[in-house]
Every structure is written in C-alpha cells, then in structure tokens.
C-alpha cells in the first residue's frame, strides 16, 4: 500500500514519525500552516515558520523518502488579532511561487467570531487573486456545524472560487454534506477524542462514498499520530474492501486534489 497523509503538522512531530510513515508506505505529505500551541507575537515569527515549512521540513522528510509539500496562511485561532493577521498575510504572496507551496491553508474559523471571518475573507481574497488551491480548517466540537455553514456560504457566494479547488477539512457526519453537496472536496481527520475514529472514518467512507474525500491524521503537538491514517485504512480493508479501493482513497484522491497544482508530482497509481 502507498499512502499520502494530506494533512500533517510535521514541524511538531519527531523523526520517529517520519520513520513510521516511511515503513508504512507513506510517500508524500502536505503540511498546512497552523497554530503553534501559543499565540505568536510578531509577523517575523511567521516568516521563520514559513521558512521552516518551505525549506527545512521538505529536507527532513526527504531523508525518509517522503515528498513534503506545504500551505501558507495565518490560522483561524490567531486570526482573532486582525492587525497581526494583516501583517502575516502580506508575507504570503511572494512565497506562493515556491515549489513546495500548494496553496493557501489551513484557513477557516475557530470560534466563528467576526474577526475570524474578516481574516478568513481576506485570505480567500489572496487565494482568488493568485488562483491558489484552498485548504479549509473547520472548527471543532460544538462550533463545527455553524462554522462549516458560514465558511461554505462565503465560498459559494464568491464566484471566483471553484469548489473543486477547495478542500473542506475536518468534516464529520453532520458536516460532510455541506462540503460535498456544494462540489468541494472533503477531508476526514482521524484524531483521538475530538474528531473522527478509524471506525467512524470507515463508516463515513462507506455511507457517503469515497469520491472527493481525503483522509488525514492532522498529527500535531496534541495526542495524535500518523498511525491513525494507516489504522483507518486497515479498518477499511478489514471490512472486505479491496486494496485498490483503499489505494483510491488513501493515495489517489489526494493526488487528484493536489494535482490541480502542477507543483505536485505524485501521480495516482492503478
């Protein structure tokens, strides 16, 4: 089996995780920009973070035979500070041509506040202006349904945004329709306690069909890990699905979404 983890925060993972992914057959990863676990004080912190994502982490991944790509943005949690966010947003356009940058992400909402919405809209504007792919973060827990609804409304109302160039991530049972029925890609995040379990992930794949779904681990500095991705594939296979069906989901679907950007080099396999 070849896997792609379409959403993983490698900067906060150990090299043991790279080793694990390499042994399991993970051939490529994509790493969205996110919250570091604390609010950064200046835009220069983000400039260093973007260098980490574009230059440092791809080299680290390459040692394990893993192709590393990334996304740039200011995340929803720090977007509450609109002034800082605008300074960070100015850093993004000059980096969009970097060969490792796939687009703008993970942008979205956290607590569904007015400030978050303002910064989200300004980053959608950047994506539209520079014709970038978009990776969307949807809120957690009780805020997810409302936040997903706001996000999809904003995107649908902007005629410049092509839904097939947007992936709405962290979808669950009550939000996946809002993504897929509107033509967006959907992401399933397999993450302990707060998101989807491997069993529920396999349920969603069976109930809604595997088209335009990317499964990811979103491994970060919390209790999480790349084995959640492979465990979900094992669960899917254990239910009697063929390996080629699993390959379509866990390898080829990410290739199809990311492949809309010519910088992405990994091709679907038969």
């Amino acid at each position: 089996m070849r896997y792609i983890d379409p959403h993983i925060h490698c900067v906060s993972r150990t090299t043991d995780d790279y080793l694990y992914m390499s042994r399991c057959g993970v051939v490529a990863v994509s790493e969205p920009a996110f919250w570091a676990g604390f609010d950064r004080s200046t835009a220069s912190s983000f400039a260093d973070y973007f260098r980490h994502l574009t230059d440092v982490e791809p080299k680290r991944a390459a040692k394990y035979g893993i192709d590393h790509y990334c996304w740039l943005c200011i995340n929803a949690k720090e977007a509450e500070n609109v002034s800082l966010s605008r300074d960070v947003i100015k850093l993004i356009p000059p980096l969009l041509d970097h060969p490792r940058v796939l687009g703008v992400g993970e942008i979205g909402l956290n607590k569904n506040t007015r400030n978050e919405i303002t910064v989200f809209e300004e980053q959608v504007e950047i994506a539209a202006r520079y014709d970038q792919l978009i990776l969307i973060h949807t809120p957690h827990l009780e805020d997810k349904h409302k936040g997903t609804s706001i996000i999809t409304s904003i995107l649908k109302n902007d005629k410049r945004i092509k839904p097939e160039r947007v992936l709405i991530d962290h979808c669950e049972e009550h939000t996946i329709r809002a993504a897929r029925d509107n033509g967006f890609w959907a992401g399933l995040t397999i993450y302990p306690v707060t998101k989807v379990t491997p069993q529920r992930g396999a349920d969603i794949l069976e109930q809604f069909g595997p088209q335009m779904i990317c499964v990811n681990s979103a491994s970060d500095w919390g209790e999480s890990g790349p084995s959640n991705l492979t465990d979900t594939c094992l669960e899917y296979l254990r239910r009697g699905h063929a390996e080629q069906e699993a390959t379509e989901i866990f390898h080829n679907n990410p290739c199809r979404f990311f492949g809309q950007n010519p910088k992405w080099k990994v091709k679907p396999v038969g």
Binding site: E142, R160, E173, H174
Partner: protein, 92 residues
Amino acid sequence: MRDAQQTLEQYFLEMRWRCLSLAADLDRIERSPGGPGVLSTDPRLAKLRQAINVLLEGKGPNRAEQVQTIFSDKTPPPEGATKRRSDEATKG
C-alpha cells in the same frame, strides 16, 4: 460486505467497553464532591442524556449525525457574516 451478525460479532466487545466506560465516568463524577448536583444540573450532561436517548429510541442509520447535531451550537452566525463577500463577488 459483512452481514449484520458478523458486524456485531466484530464490534460488540468494543461497544460493551464504551458503554461501561461511560457508566464508570458518570459514577466517578457522582463520587466526587458536589457530584450529585453536577449530574443533575450540568447542561453538557443533559445533552449527553439526550444523545443516549437517540441510541435507545432513535432510528438510524444516521444516529451519529443525530448525536453530532445535539452537541452543535445552534446560535445564528455573527451579523453580516456571509453578506459582504456576496455583495463584492457579484460586482465581478
């Protein structure tokens, strides 16, 4: 695809374990100082009871979605949250 009996065989022990775990969680809260009061008044536990009711009496096959809805914020979005982009986008 496995039939219902085979599916139940595969998952029953996990289902039993999750049910026991929830029972033990509620016992732990009740044993703690102030436990009975929290059990009867905390709005999160009220939602939990509502969710358990979906398992007991609700009809599938979307019980998971019904439970997600119980735990979702249903207040309206901030005023004008999706209007501005719409107005701007229709210009171009």
